[in-house]
Amino acid sequence: MKVENPRDKLISNYEVLDHIHDIKRRQKRSASKHRAIQRTENLETILLELQGYLKGTPAAKQTAEDLREFLQQISAYELEKAEKLQLINVAPGSEAALHSLIEECDQRFTDEERQHMVALVAQSLHPDGQSQ
């Protein structure tokens, strides 16, 4: 085994969940065709646990369309790639939560800008508090 590139790409929670759903669909399809497919314990365990975790995150309600829309709108602000990724994964429902995700938030952005960002998140990313 050789590690070609340990950090090839960053990937959002939504994409991981989407990939798991894809695996599950394929497993089901091949099972119906009576083709022997290999279900190893390790894979099943991690998929189940991952799915359990991600279902409790905002990723469960997001769609590809949501993310595209959000990224387009948030591009008005100068944010690092990792910060945008965090916004998508965590979907902060308040300014306090936003603070923890963006470094030196109060120096880089004004009050209104911060409020607007939280509004954008609420509009397209389905933050936790909102739906309950």
Partner: protein, 212 residues
Amino acid sequence: MFILSKFSDLIRIEPSKFSKRTEDALEDEINAKYANKVLQDVGLCLCLYDILEVGDGLIRHGDGSAYIKTVFRLIVFRPFVGEVLVGWISSCSEEGIRVRMDFFDDIFLPKEYLFEGCIFVPSEQAWVWRTEHDLYLDTNEKIRFKVEQEIFTDQSPQGPKNILAAENNNAGDENAQQQMLLQGGSAQNVAPPYSLVVSCQTYGMGLVTWWD
């Protein structure tokens, strides 16, 4: 939180699996080998993401299996230092708080990395942040935290002589101590292969319900 890592490996396909499509057979073998395993300095491997290159299947003398050189990407859990994650408190002790995420449990929040003014209440087995109100950090609460440090421990077996030497080396090591705590101070001094030390000190951290 998740990344894609690129690997190349020689994958062995047994003759009994020749009836499958090559891609399916490779996917099964790769998942069997890597899923839910920690690779040193890479992270916790979850599952195959995609296969980029498939070489020719080669056969060795005395073995009917096909060996195929494959380049592929895995989904790996490897949060970067400074990343903010959400998990649940699994237990509190005087040294700090152990946090779990469903698929990954080796997360420790030492007391030095808690908010200023936090105290441990032994009768409740919980940490309390004393501000205007007492804010409880209780078991099974959802908590937001920041990754401060990642610790990889090589678990490949050591020779009999090395074990003693390594233990002595580690004795004064801060990392080793934190790993002991991650273990919950178990007598068996086996550190987890990959663990995270996290903090909860800034605005917006701590229980999710405090802020939202």
